[in-house]
């Protein structure tokens, strides 16, 4: 009989997956409402505040809005235009939603539970679907790259000029910002000595120094790159409404459009999770949570609450930025990725590597306290120097004038100049 039942481990994984998928879909729906509320607040108008319990006058501040929207969009026509590439067109939203959900297999959403003493389950039970996965960060990185495929497939298969341009832009942007993202990750991985995200949180809790303090430059680079990866303003060029209508999902409607929009919000949630887990200490807060793995129910709840509060704060910051800053131009975007973020990321990596390499020697020579402060001071010096240098070396950031310099990729230039010289010669004759 017991052979037919899944093992306790599998059951535990299934329960966690169910909680995560349900929670994430609900969170995505209600974050849309939150975003509309924040937009209304920023623009000094009323947001969605009518939809509550149907057939009554109770409006509940508009909390019924996401449910009504979801129901409406499911009842819409599931339409596939004639001119599209059918297989790729249908696969794109599935790929992008499945990938952005499955990322959470490696992302912890809390610390650990107190010992439950269930036979077959290891104690304590971690808040993580796949605790045995040694390559957590790489899994997250890999699946966030698969999201690029969804966007590119959608844009290409739509056979629509807006969709095509949106897909091109989007893939170039996501691909360009993946390198600073990886560089930011590398610094944290180096300092924590592990690719597991829960181990990274534990390392910060044990030392009490969050990585945003120890690696400010890495934090900056990662933060900006994750804005770009989530395609939020000021990096929302893939679907710049004023230029590209809807970008890669112009031709999509109904439920498939919903899948794209949900996965966009999931990307933002993922970005917030990663920022909090890797740089803002995860569930750790000084004097409240403690740092051991043997905890009580109260502590487990506290850690979960603190992690959620931090993530919500980062998401609200994402939304406030959306209504505060204008969009970049594409060349500014590429300049920032390749000429600013990549060098800064490399500088951060080298600094962190050097600090971690020579920390034992300095601890021996100066004592643990002084060495600890030095390990924080040096990256901050590099942070300010790097920031100032980046500001000096890329003065074109706010310059709107087109550059008329010689473009090495412009192969037709020589021909044009030749023609010009010919006509001038003909004129003098």
């Amino acid at each position: 009989m017991s052979d037919f039942l899944p093992s306790p481990l599998t059951l535990a994984a299934l329960v966690k997956i169910g909680l995560l998928v349900g929670g994430l879909m609900t969170a995505a729906a209600y974050l849309v409402l939150l975003e509309r509320w924040i937009a209304a607040w920023v623009q000094d108008r009323r947001g969605p505040n009518r939809v509550g319990i149907p057939f009554t006058k109770i409006s509940l501040f508009g909390l019924g809005q996401p449910l009504a929207d979801g129901l409406k969009i499911i009842l819409k026509e599931d339409f596939t235009p004639k001119h599209v590439d059918k297989i790729l067109y249908n696969a794109a939203p599935l790929v992008i939603l499945a990938a952005s959900l499955a990322i959470f297999a490696a992302i912890p959403f809390g610390s650990v539970l107190p010992p439950l003493n269930i036979p077959g389950l290891p104690d304590p039970v971690p808040f993580l679907v796949a605790p045995g996965l040694d390559v957590g960060v790489l899994w997250v990185f890999a699946l966030s790259s698969i999201a690029v495929y969804g966007v590119l497939l959608g844009g290409w298969a739509s056979n629509n000029k807006y969709g095509f341009l949106g897909g091109l832009r989007s893939s170039a942007q996501l691909v360009a910002y993946e390198i600073p993202l990886g560089l930011g990750l590398l610094g944290v991985v180096l300092a924590a000595g592990s690719l597991k995200l829960d181990a990274i949180m534990n390392a910060q809790a044990e030392s009490g120094v969050w990585y945003c303090m120890a690696q400010p430059l890495g934090f900056l680079v990662f933060f900006v790159a994750s804005f770009a990866e989530a395609a939020r303003l000021p990096f929302d060029l893939p679907e710049a409404e004023q230029e590209l209508v809807g970008g890669y999902h112009t031709e999509y409607s109904g439920i498939r459009l919903l899948l794209f929009l949900v996965s966009e919000f999931l990307h933002m949630i993922t970005a917030a999770f990663l920022i909090v887990i890797m740089f803002l200490g995860g569930w750790h807060f000084w004097g409240i949570t403690g740092s051991s793995q043997q905890i009580t129910w109260l502590e487990a709840l506290l850690r979960f609450g603190i992690l959620s509060a931090k993530i919500l704060a980062v998401i609200v910051f994402f939304m406030l930025v959306r209504w505060s800053w204008p969009r970049f131009r594409f060349d500014q975007l590429m300049n920032l990725a390749w000429k600013v973020m990549l060098p800064l990321g490399l500088a951060n990596l080298v600094t962190v590597a050097a600090v971690e390499e020579f920390r034992p020697q300095f601890t021996e020579a100066l004592g643990a306290t002084t060495a600890g402060w030095l390990a924080i001071a040096v990256p901050w010096v590099v942070f300010f120097v790097g920031w100032i240098l980046a500001g000096i070396l890329t003065p074109s950031g706010t310059d709107n004038r087109p550059i008329r310099a010689h473009d090495p990729l412009d192969i037709e230039r020589g021909i044009r100049e030749h023609d010009l010289a010919e006509t001038e010669l003909a004129g003098t004759r």
């Binding site: 481990l9 599998t10 994984a13 299934l14 997956i17 969009i73 499911i74 819409k76 026509e77 599931d78 339409f79 235009p81 004639k82 001119h83 939203p93 599935l94 939603l97 499945a98 959900l101 499955a102 297999a105 679907v129 045995g132 996965l133 040694d134 899994w139 056979n159 629509n160 000029k161 807006y162 095509f164 091109l168 691909v175 993946e178 390198i179 990886g182 590398l186 991985v189 180096l190 000595g193 592990s194 690719l195 209508v245 112009t250 031709e251 109904g254 439920i255 498939r256 899948l259 060349d331 300049n335 390749w338 000429k339 490399l346 590597a353 971690e356 390499e357 550059i403 473009d407 990729l409």
Partner: protein
Amino acid sequence: MAASRREVLSLRLFFVTDFVTNFTKSVSAADFHWKRSMEAILPVLLFVAIAAAVSVGLVFAAGLIGPNRASAVKEMPYESGMDPVHDTRRRFDVRFHLVAITFLVFDVELLFLYPWAVASRSPAGIDAAVSEGLVSCRGLVFAGALLFISLVVVGFAYDWRKGVFRWR
């Protein structure tokens, strides 16, 4: 002195038994390892399967529920209300291709740095290798990593000078 027939036989037997025990040991170790990694990967596979099922299920359900009324205008590509001009599959800026190539180069170089980053400070990493005598000293590994990063920087500077990152 030549070994007697009996001694040779016993030696041969020894080798055979030794080989068999070692082979079974290694197979069982591999089996154990396989079981452990399956235990680690199973939740991930489950998650991928469930995520795929959720997205397919949503699309399928909406296809069943929603209306289906096609019309000639609906099936045209959307171009802000105009009749579409030209085909979509045309030439596009070569710089997108350049970005893809540059990304490939730098991303693979970053992937090479991951093993070093993980091993640098983990207890089973470089320190363990040094104490076991596999590496002569930590400094050598650090210097190697720095050399690799400086090669990346050289490539980066070359790309910059060549104008790969110039977009206007």
